[in-house]
């Protein structure tokens, strides 16, 4: 009874939405649903246009690179802070300010990065006041830059406090505590323990959540919209452009992109899930 109910709820809230969402996107992209298609009839032309443009693949590559490097950067910072913070954290509670970043949505974070790092932003003003640079134009370009440094920084800024809390909480469990004791009784220095015992455990324990963040970063829209460059843009922006462009004709192409992209990421995430569960079993 309970399991059946759980299955039903799972199907209702997880399987069906994904299934319907994807089939709708596929339907539009193949011309079977009339959005921007006129009379419904099967066609591959939207997919052909999509692949012939070549923009999508470049964009997917860029998006994955951006997300992966942002997650890696955030995880590295959080790991680096782990040891000094563990030393000054006697109990199992964290002070309130650790949770402040969790209450900042992407759009506001992007706005903050913009105000702080733009050529005429706060840092640039401080640099001018300190006489480090003569004027705004000599400040390094971090916002709307070609590579998306501003976008990257914002993602790192959003992710690393969350990772830090996760890591601290994992490092505080009894299991880690015991292993730490074992390792130190075996003669390992505390730096060594941190590197070889705590970090691997903490990363492994939180692997599923790191993956969710990775996928979440893949899909963000507001941050690159405000801070990204124009030359190469994350997939979400390219898709929305097509879906909400000036022409009805490009709508199905946008849906083709979103369906293709979703399937691509689904395959990627499946591999990732496989990967971490193997590491679990080992």
């Amino acid at each position: 009874m309970t399991r059946t109910l759980a299955k039903a709820l799972f199907i209702l809230f997880v399987v069906i939405p994904s299934f319907l969402g994807l089939s709708y996107a596929l339907g539009v992209s193949f011309g079977l649903i009339g959005l921007g298609n006129g009379a419904p009839s099967f066609t591959l032309s939207h997919w052909e246009v999509m692949f012939s443009e070549g923009r999508l693949m470049k964009s997917i590559g860029y998006t994955i690179l951006l997300a992966a490097s942002a997650i890696a950067g955030a995880a590295l910072i959080a790991l680096g802070l782990l040891s000094p913070l563990l030393k000054r954290m006697p109990g199992n509670t964290l002070p309130w300010f650790y949770f402040v970043p969790l209450g900042i949505p992407p759009i506001v974070a992007a706005f903050f990065t913009f105000s702080a790092l733009a050529n005429t932003g706060l840092l640039s003003r401080i640099a001018v006041k300190l006489g480090m640079i003569p004027d705004a134009s000599s400040f390094p370009i971090l916002i709307n830059d070609e590579l998306g440094i501003g976008v990257w920084l914002t993602h790192v800024m959003l992710a690393f406090p969350f990772f830090l809390i996760l890591f601290l909480s994992s490092a505080k469990t009894q299991e880690v505590h015991r292993l730490r004791e074992t390792a130190s009784s075996l003669g390992a220095s505390s730096a060594y323990i941190l590197r070889k015992v705590i970090r691997p455990i903490v990363i492994r324990k939180n692997a599923p959540l790191l993956i969710i963040w990775f996928i979440f970063v893949l899909g963000t829209y507001e941050i690159p919209l405000l801070l990204g460059g124009q030359k190469i843009r994350p997939v979400a922006l390219v898709i929305i452009d097509k879906m909400r462009g000036y022409s009805l004709a490009t709508i199905p192409e946008g849906y083709a992109m979103s369906a293709f992209y979703a399937v691509f990421i689904m395959a990627l995430s499946f591999l990732l899930v496989k990967l971490i569960s193997r590491r679990y079993d080992a």
Partner: protein, 410 residues
Amino acid sequence: MRQLTTTFLTCCILILWGCGSSSSNEEENTLVDSGPQTWEQTLQQAKGTTVQMMMWQGDPFINAYMEDYVIPTVQNQFGVSIEISSGQGTQIVSTLMSEQQARVAESAVDLVWINGETFFQLRQIDALYGPFTDDLPNSDFINWDSPFISQDFQQPTDGYECPWGNVQYCLIYNSEHVTSPPKTLDELEDWVKQHPGKFTFSSDFTGMTLLKSMLINMAGSKTALDGPFDEAKYNELSSHLWEYLNRIKPYFWREGKTFPSSVAPMHQLFSNGELWFTMSNNDGEVENKVLQGVLPSSSRAYVLEGGTIQNSHYLGVVKKAKHKAGAQVLINFLISPEAQLRKADPAVWGDGTVLELTRLPAQYQEEIKRLNNREFAPTRASIEPFALKEPDPEYMIRLNADFRKYVIEK
């Protein structure tokens, strides 16, 4: 596994049942108008209804105009309530399109604020109610003779949307740094080369309006792009345009490697002094933005000698709207001399009127004179001769795609 399949199928059936039951409602759409009716009847019908209006709400001035003036006045005078939800062009189109696909009998939206390509798209999918503008008493004041009002992107409005405001594209410069702004494309080229990094345009609708203006400027005739989309003409003119832009791109802001995504950040860059030029689709915007403190008081607006695009924005009634009468009453109020002139005041909104001033009752003439005194923008009368018509929407669609391809991604 079998259990799983059963549950899944049950859920699917439920949903299909839902589809079935809703599509059967389609025939019950009894809201189609039953022949012509008098304005009195419309007023009567509208009383007590709540009109759902969808519009762009990004500007505090516009919101205040609606919230503090329009809503209470319409409620008092006509007993019509208004609920505004935020949403523009693409969301309106996608919502109405999805509603059509789902064959709903009544739309969630009654009234929409649209223009240009949105109107074109909504007409394409037949989502607008009309023709209705002739039924509005205040439409007598509208300057229907102006092609800038009766045609929206070369497409006759045909009574399916009612003009609400009319504006002309202008460039805005900082008079502290720029003494005589470039008025032709050649002058612009020289200026940009002499002042690297101080000029750019946005990659959104406003920037495209500049590109359209440039395209017509290059054609040499104000009416060059009139009529339906002309592929050959476009190809020839646009190749000149990309050549021109790529030539001066290295001297743009950020060496032309990127463009601001909309005018909002451009205004910020401008007020911070990083840019010496910004721009607006609305010739009067500089007045209200200076008042708001967004732009510095050294900002000045002007138009190119070869002309800039003038266009109108409109109000449309949704075909499946629940409250068509209420929507029409609201529109009629919005184009009343009182509401239009108030809207034209830069301290309120600063949006150009669509009314023919000479047709207005005498009591409004004083008011009009006052509004003609602009401090930072040229008067409407002075830029009117340089107005260009919006070309066919296809021009913008192509410009937008090709600008990305031949300029940004190059």
